[in-house]
């Protein structure tokens, strides 16, 4: 069970984690498609690089984002004693 005085640091930590998870992903969502045409000159696995990054790259970044978030947020929960009691 979380101590009462841990609430504020816990929520501050959670907010930081949310921003750290979402900001790079949101940035990639904007930048990668906009520069796709310029990157299409190069190829990876035969696929134009810009198209590859917008399709495959963003999917991988999305999965890594959520996987890292789940891991880190769970660590934050345990650090502040806010985790579930099972």
């Amino acid at each position: 069970m979380m101590e009462r005085n841990e609430r504020k640091p816990y929520w501050r930590h959670t907010k930081m984690q949310m921003l750290a998870s979402l900001l790079p992903f949101v940035l990639a969502m904007i930048v990668l498609p906009l520069y796709a045409e310029a990157l299409n000159e190069k190829r990876i696995l035969g696929i134009p690089l810009g198209y590859f990054l917008a399709c495959h790259g963003l999917a991988v970044i999305g999965f890594v984002t959520i996987a890292v978030f789940v891991n880190r947020q769970d660590a934050i929960d345990h650090w502040h004693g806010a985790h579930e009691d099972f």
């Binding site: 069970m1 979380m2 609430r7 816990y10 929520w11 959670t14 907010k15 949310m18 998870s21 979402l22 992903f25 969502m29 904007i30 498609p33 906009l34 796709a36 045409e37 299409n40 190829r43 990876i44 696995l45 035969g46 696929i47 134009p48 810009g50 198209y51 590859f52 917008a54 399709c55 495959h56 963003l58 999917a59 991988v60 999305g62 999965f63 984002t65 959520i66 996987a67 978030f69 789940v70 947020q73 769970d74 929960d77 004693g81 806010a82 985790h83 579930e84 009691d85 099972f86």
Partner: protein, 611 residues
Amino acid sequence: MAITARTRLVNPRLGTYFGIFTAAFAALFVLALMFEQLGASDGLLRLLMFGGPIVLYAAIGLSSSATEARDFFACGRRVPAFFNGLVLGITALGGAGFLALTGSLFMIGFDAVCLSIAFYAGLVFMGVLFAPFMRKHGAYTLPTFLGRRFESRTVRIVAAAVLSVPILLLLAAEARFAAYAAAWLLGQSERLMAPLVVACAAGIVIAGGMRSLTWSSVAQAIAALLALAVPATIIALMVSNLPLPQMTHGNVLRIVTRAEIVNGVPIVLAPPLAFDFPGAGVEPLIKRFVQSFGSVGSLSFVLMSFVAAAGIAASPTLLSRSGTTPGVYEARKSLGWAVLVSGVVLLTLPAIAVYLRAMLLEQVVGQAGDRLPMWFQLLQQAGIASVEAKAQTVRLSAIGFERDAALFALSIAAGFPQVIVYLALAGALAAAMAALAASLMAIASILSEDVVHGLSGETASEAARVGTARLALLGAAFVTIGLAIALPADPLQLFLWSLTLSAATSFPVLLLAIWVKRVNAWGALATMFTGLVVTIFMMLLGEAGAVDTSSALAGAVGLPLALAAGLVASRMTPAPGRSALDTVREMRVPGGETLYDRELRLLRLKNRTQT
């Protein structure tokens, strides 16, 4: 493995059950293939591929009946993260993802990727911003959550009314996609199939509500994934010797790009706010596959990614699933699985689009109009493809194609047995039915929990709540049939409208309810009202041609204005009370009892002591 309360909640035989389902589905497919080779009639094969899977889904749905409210509305809160993620991923995609997105990728190539990005970005946003807190609160519906968070029955009723709009649009869209797949599968008209598929979806979930929905949707997700994988993997093996269409379609894409240059397909650059997605009928192929921003402008591309992602993240249909996991950690983890599942599907769809385009460019473009391959003539006879009558030599721009047919047209073009074509259709039907049933369940829960019993303070018996939800489900099914038949709009357009409205109404109010403690009931009402009114106004302006933006992007105006209205209204009115702040504080901490369950337990205890 240590046996804890968390592991005891989960049925250890789930893997075995769904292993049996997968084997039964594969056996059905192989049986149909054998029948086809033995010369069985086409009608029998169609019936087998339509009826067989539906009987399996119905058996799962009807055998998972529920009488307790917690089972009926939250599947007993014992769905493991993987299964919840699997259902979330496929339900988010639905028929729109399987049929319309594949077709859009085939017709406008890169520009349709904005929707792909929106699907997995929406699930990431949901996992980080909303799902863990919704799970800790434990409310069965979004209006219940908002009503309790803001301690206002008015907020609850207004939220029920406002959030029903995107759900009804989604219901109409998914019913149309399911009817489209069923119509091609059975060779009947869409109007005839719409009541049948809606009745099937409602019949599967009526016995057990969320419990039936969850386990039948797992089966539908497995069927949809298998149906997508089989044709794409066979073609990947044929062209690259590797069974990975997602990674090996590069060489085919190189051929496509070269053929487009040779055939003089022009490079078109759309204005930044252009948003020209292909419509439902037969439309010409005018754009190069890899070239970006030819049909959708650069600004519209980014805006669509964000608006649709916000719509998916705050979708009332999907978010009601977050209460089904055993805990907050599982709710977060299930979104990880959902992103993985949807990511695999969304990387397979462009491969299918590239393979079909390559076949078209290699075998149809440049041929004499009277010497077209047999498969293309079959598509022409079926009304899926067309060539301009006066064309002596076929050019790409002279070819028209029906958007939603691209998924199963690939199997026809590759000369596969007819049963593989029916398998692709059965997969699309499964995905559309999963989304349709989830939306039916969402609106039935809102009608029962928030409109009928929400006004009387949750004192109704469990039997009354479950009974009302079943009646509401039947009513919602009738309304859906009416909408699917009466609404003339393109189903993809209905789907995009649903997302844009969800982005402007549900997303801002949830964001403020969870992340901004100061927001009160007035702020919530102002948020939902502004989001709905501004978005509908922008949609009407967009449809009338009074503004340059598409009606699908109306949420890009509605969302920020709704957020601003909520913050301003909250600042101008008294701060929320102490108990509302306590609810927010408790909701933010994963540990401890689920808030909604505790509230109902205390209410029951109070009623017992009074009697």
